[in-house]
Symmetry: none
């Protein structure tokens, strides 16, 4: 069974606001086994909104609208749905009385304009609103159209108390289960080439691949008659995909790489320090995004200039002059220096050219060296990235975290 969500309100079409009610509604609908197939935001325009409702209802069994139930002229959802379904709006004196009583409890008088909120689409069930003046509405037609208020705390309370019980009776017993694999260290196109022969054999589960900043998420969504069936199907399709991706998979529960590496460090009773050139603090920032990271993250050095590499980390100026700041030798000397000074188990160093212009070293933009020092050895890895300054810096931190992850797994960096 499919649903579409329509948010009404011109303020959601500005450059500053997004509709977040749909995220909550999507989570609840997915739990019921209902797929959300489209979302829309429409301004305060009755005819456009009516058209959107009509189109959604022609495709989907459930259409949920949020917002536009307030008392003012620009609240047009009631009128739009009535128009879309070709039904009348009927005044309900008992709703007006309830709104009036609510105002009285706040020691205020109901203003005339609030009477607009007492109009109900012919044949609709009224959904009481415990947290505001605007009642919701539940209308059955070819499918179900649900009108909910826009304020998130009103919408959530109404959906949970009034809509979920009704939807449970309506929705056939389907269950959706998801497998999420997070992968790093390979381009999206290589990954797809590798695993598409597996997932393309199945229409269910649906596979989605999402990539950005050196991170790939592989989502498998199984939709079956029971939770058990969905889980069995995910296991069947997931197993060969996991086998193909192997240790490129770093997370199976959605955790980002800094959390995964942090847990590995913590379990190993190990500590880490960083020495950053082109990332200027972004690597330390990622480590310390994680609450409790002080258990394993000791600190580090931002050695943006050559002088700082020499003075703070003790990199040999002759080595620096000979190989340049962007070299595996300098990266290794930085890592060794950071480890010696902090006494951390592991030290990660990154050096490279983030752009937009190439530096004095004449290494091209996107050249990156990551070095890892541990009690036994110090090894540097080279990579060439494409893109702008932000992308190159993000890829570099992802690469550095992955070099450490692989070392902690007992494999070569």
């Amino acid at each position: 069974m499919n649903a579409e969500i329509i948010a009404a309100g011109s303020e959601l079409l500005t450059a500053e606001r997004v509709d977040t009610n749909s995220l909550y509604l999507t989570a609840e609908l997915n739990n019921l086994g209902v797929e959300v197939t489209a979302k829309a935001v429409i301004g305060d325009d009755r005819d456009r909104l009516a058209e959107a409702v009509r189109a959604a209802l022609s495709r989907s069994a459930i259409v949920i609208l949020s917002g536009g139930l307030g008392p003012t002229e620009d609240d047009v959802t009631r009128e739009a749905v009535a128009l879309a379904l070709d039904r009348k709006l009927v005044f309900h004196p008992e709703i007006a009385a309830q709104i009036e009583a609510r105002f009285a409890r706040m020691k205020r008088k109901m203003v005339e304009v609030n009477r607009r909120q007492a109009f109900v689409i012919e044949g609709a069930d009224v959904l009481p609103n415990d947290r505001g003046t605007a009642p919701g509405q539940w209308v059955e037609e070819s499918g179900v159209v649900i009108l909910l208020p826009g304020p998130p705390h009103e919408l959530k309370a109404m959906f949970e108390r009034q809509c979920l019980p009704r939807l449970r009776r309506l929705v056939p017993d389907h269950s959706i289960r998801t497998l999420l694999l997070r992968v790093t260290g390979m381009p999206e196109s290589d990954l797809d080439q590798l695993i598409s022969p597996v997932y393309k054999k199945y229409l269910n589960p649906v596979t989605t691949i999402l990539a950005g900043n050196g991170d790939i998420q592989v989502h498998l969504r199984a939709r079956c008659a029971s939770v058990g069936e969905a889980e069995a199907l995910l296991a069947e399709v997931g197993a060969p995909i996991e086998a193909l991706l192997g240790d490129k998979i770093y997370s199976r529960n959605g955790d980002p790489l800094e959390v995964v590496v942090g847990e590995m460090l913590h379990k190993a009773h190990a500590t880490v320090a960083v020495a950053e050139s082109l990332t200027g603090g972004m690597l330390g920032e990622r480590f310390t995004t994680v609450p409790g990271s002080s258990r394993y993250f000791l600190g580090g050095f931002l050695t943006y200039s050559n002088a700082m590499k020499v003075e703070l980390l003790g990199v040999d100026p002759q080595l620096l002059a000979h190989f340049g700041a962007v070299s595996s030798e300098t990266a290794e000397a930085m890592a060794a220096g950071a480890r010696r000074l902090t006494k951390a188990t592991y030290a990660l160093a990154v050096t490279g050219v983030a752009g937009p212009e190439s530096g004095e070293d004449a290494a091209p933009v996107g050249t990156v060296y990551v070095a890892l020092a541990d009690p036994e050895k110090t090894v540097a890895v080279h990579r060439q990235f494409l893109g702008d300054r932000t992308r190159i810096r993000m890829f570099t931190t992802q690469m550095a975290l992955d070099v450490l992850r692989r070392r902690l797994m007992g494999r070569a960096g």
Copy 2:
């Protein structure tokens, strides 16, 4: 002139993700005087997407699609738009060659699946992608349909370089002008209380206040018959607002605080270093986000643990024990240490409790000290922030940059 924005991608129909590209696109379209009247998110479904394109084009002069231009099977935007417009897809060998060359620059071989990205809608203009493999497309029909890649940094670069110049020729009059003031160092509600008596007198310009992470943007949008009129109106309304906000305004051209402070440092031929505790690298990261920041940013220390504060920065262990890591005394010692070791003109130090739990110092979550050392003195400032770990860290970097900005203006930190 109206526009609609359609984001393609099943991942944007999950409970976790929202489409944020549309916010950027909306801001740019509004600047041109184009109103966004509807937005939609459609899953990876060719026929549904085609239907959405057809419907949008029947209502609006400009339809922008984002996403679904990748190399994989679930990237269906090209096919969907071709279907909607009843046009063929044509293979462009020169695009395939460019993608192949891009792979070659990364010392990799193009995989077969990337050939999908070389298909172009008949009659469309190809929009080159400097930052990824997927080219965009510009198709003129009854209106304009624009296909952009989903990754925000690719989309932004392509829209700015390829689409804005074309749209400027297309959109009738340029009668919208905007004044943007960026403000820091006061809460949004105080700011609104201060300036609303001015802006509420005007329906035109429209005033929007947008706040987040210690940063406030005040947008005034004037829409007039001519550019001259719009500019005169902005000057009239902007002047009293600027007078009220005074030196809390740090930027009038949209530049973020790290760019403003960077330019002040560069003009003063001064350098800066950092010593970070709770921010773990975020302050250095913000300084070095700016291209060319190596002219004034020397480097710094991530002293997350107490031992690192002593060993790397030379903070007196007795002072640390007596006042605690989260104190103005420790912040000042950190700043003085960083300045001494790097020989920078200015050193900024931050220490505090980012949470979620309070540390051994028993200072409450959100307690922050920022110290600034310069050739004459070292002074610490205390602030108490509310919110989660990320918010507190963001506020802290904003506060630190502003402390330096005010010192560089010749005022007390």
